[in-house]
């Protein structure tokens, strides 16, 4: 039983990892805490849902969701952060600015969905259950795990094995120096925000399929838990976010299974608070990632 729960947790954790990777990517590279990330996640689920409702296949919805939320995220960067970057007050400013963007997206989504909780039509994803050694795994869970692994691998390859990825990491290290070396930072912002949004959108579709409840407020709890995951892994640390996502999924499933359900959030957030006291930089974070840096 406990192994089954761990397995379920691991699958959910993969989705947390996808969500948190985009979040931590933008923070690690640009020191921007994008509070509209939950809204981008929600938009991904919406795009896939409306594609399916319009009669198109799910795979197309999935691709459109990834592309659409990636572009939305780029748009957020251009509208909300680009001007702010030049002012040198980005840390506080970006938070409030992304709160504004979040409000706009959520209001539009509320209008589009008429404040309803929407569902994918029955049988959008075939319901097949496999059994391995007494463990039950649904086809959807396998698909979720496969997506998470594939996207994380792609991201890692992109960042560590391509010319673009090298530029991105150069900007993360020192934006001024990167500029002097002829790297166009705007292009790098475009890439990181697109990747971040695309990952969030993919996570949104997977969550929409798994829990089959899509509504305009679905991003907020994920945003709050996303904080836990990226802190757990160390702000800006990509392997940290992956590990922490998986760990978090398992912790959450375990607390839901073995504690009173009302206490889940209390337990999770208390753990986060305690962790910050013991390891202020998270599990895999390094001090220079920003924890001890003044404003």
């Amino acid at each position: 039983m406990i192994v089954q729960q761990l397995l379920n947790g691991l699958v959910v954790g993969g989705v947390y990892a996808l969500f948190a990777l985009g979040f931590t990517l933008v923070f690690g590279i640009h020191q921007i805490l994008n509070l509209a990330h939950g809204a981008v996640f929600m938009t991904g689920a919406f795009i896939a849902l409306y594609t399916v409702l319009a009669g198109w296949p799910l795979w197309l919805g999935f691709i459109l969701a990834i592309a659409g939320s990636g572009l939305l995220s780029v748009l957020i960067e251009v509208v909300a952060f680009r001007k702010l970057r030049q002012s040198g007050e980005a840390e506080f400013g970006a938070i409030v600015s992304s709160i504004g963007v979040n409000l706009i997206i959520v209001t539009v989504a509320q209008k589009v969905s008429n404040t309803l909780v929407l569902r994918f039509p029955f049988d959008t994803f075939p319901i097949v259950i496999y059994e391995f050694f007494g463990l039950r795994v649904s086809a959807l869970q396998l698909f979720m795990a496969a997506c998470a692994v594939a996207l994380v691998l792609l991201l890692t390859l992109y960042l560590y094995r391509t010319q673009f990825g090298r530029q991105v990491r150069a900007v993360a290290g020192n934006e001024r120096a990167a500029k002097l070396l002829g790297i166009n930072p705007d292009l790098v912002y475009f890439q990181t925000f697109f990747l971040s949004g695309a990952l969030a959108g993919a996570a949104g579709v997977l969550v929409g399929l798994a829990f089959n409840s899509i509504h305009f407020m679905m991003g907020e709890p994920w945003l709050l838990r996303g904080f836990v995951v990226i802190i757990l892994g160390g702000l800006g640390s990509i392997p940290g976010a992956m590990l922490a996502g998986l760990l978090f999924g398992m912790i959450q499933t375990m607390t839901i299974a073995y504690f009173p359900s009302g206490l889940t959030d209390a337990i999770i957030f208390s753990l986060l608070f305690l962790l910050l006291l013991i390891r202020p930089h998270g599990l895999l974070g390094r001090p220079e990632a920003g924890a001890m840096r003044g404003r």
Partner: protein, 291 residues
């Protein structure tokens, strides 16, 4: 007079939120990126309402208890938070707010759970709120002119310099935390005795976000900043009422636009502009005299 009376509820909301914004402002001024105020206000509100409802304590004594609870919890928080900086403080205090919220929902016998507390006597009116806000603004302005206020500014601007000047970062930030906790607890209690009912989500993530926006939009270096920020953001949904469900869209767009063009907030940018004008005028007049 009719006109004014019609807007009285809105004015009360403005006063309450100004109080919350000032509580948030004082920690930011001392360089602590804490968003714990939502949790502290929640504790103050529930303690005050609970004491009066369950034990029959006089509302004013309950308010005092709520304020003290704010101070105690703020001091308890400030001790571990001294190890953290910047965004890490923000996220740790966000975790605190979430813990308060979910414990609040869970502890149903004490707090009424998700239903909250009802039938709280309404003893706080516009005048009480005005006095509370006035006193808080006075306190904040008075602090600004003392050694403590300068210590806040020094710690915010550069910790290393502050330490070299003999200012203890930890102690200064704890004091800021305690003041902030007192203001948050007091206004939480005032809200409880002003609105008949309390429910846990009132002090959740959206509350935290609203208060932070007041301060950042208005400006976080002067006492007037948070007041102006609150006035703008509280009045805006009312002014945009004809837009019906699109008014939150306008609210969001305003936040984005103001932060993009006035990143220091409305008041701080204005003050900087006036100061520069003044300097330029002075420079011009001295230059004129010399030639």
């Amino acid at each position: 007079m009719e006109f004014l009376l019609g807007y009285r509820p809105l004015f009360d909301v403005f006063l309450l939120h100004t109080g919350y914004a000032l509580g948030q402002y004082i920690v930011l001024r001392a360089g602590v990126f804490s968003v714990a105020n939502a949790g502290l206000s929640s504790i103050g509100a529930y303690l005050a309402a609970g004491l009066t409802l369950k034990l029959g304590v006089h509302p004013y004594l309950s308010l005092l208890a709520g304020t003290l609870a704010g101070v105690v919890f703020a001091l308890l928080l400030s001790w571990p938070l001294a190890r953290l900086r910047g965004v890490y403080q923000a996220i740790a205090t966000l975790a605190f707010v979430q813990v308060v919220l979910s414990v609040n929902v869970f502890a149903e016998p004490l707090t009424g759970g998700a239903m909250g507390l009802n039938g709280i006597p309404r003893v706080v009116g516009t005048w009480t709120l005005l006095i509370a806000v006035g006193a808080t603004i006075y306190l904040m302005t008075a602090i600004g002119a003392t050694r403590l206020g300068r210590a806040f500014d020094a710690v915010r601007q550069d910790e290393a310099v502050a330490v070299s000047l003999g200012v203890s970062v930890t102690r200064t930030q704890s004091v800021a935390f305690a003041i902030s906790g007192a203001v948050a607890g007091l206004f939480g209690g005032l809200e409880a005795f002003h609105g008949y009912a309390l429910e846990p989500n009132q002090f959740g993530f959206s509350f935290l976000v609203a208060i932070l926006s007041y301060v950042v939009l208005g400006g976080r270096r002067s006492v007037i900043g948070p007041v102006v920020g609150t006035a703008v953001l509280v009045a805006l949904p009312e002014i945009a009422r004809p837009l019906a469900e699109y008014r939150m869209l306008v609210y969001g767009a305003l936040l984005v636009a103001v932060i993009a063009y006035l990143p220091r907030g409305i008041v701080d940018t204005l003050l900087d502009y006036l100061r520069r004008q003044h300097m330029a005028a002075r420079a011009a007049s001295t230059a004129g005299r010399q030639s």
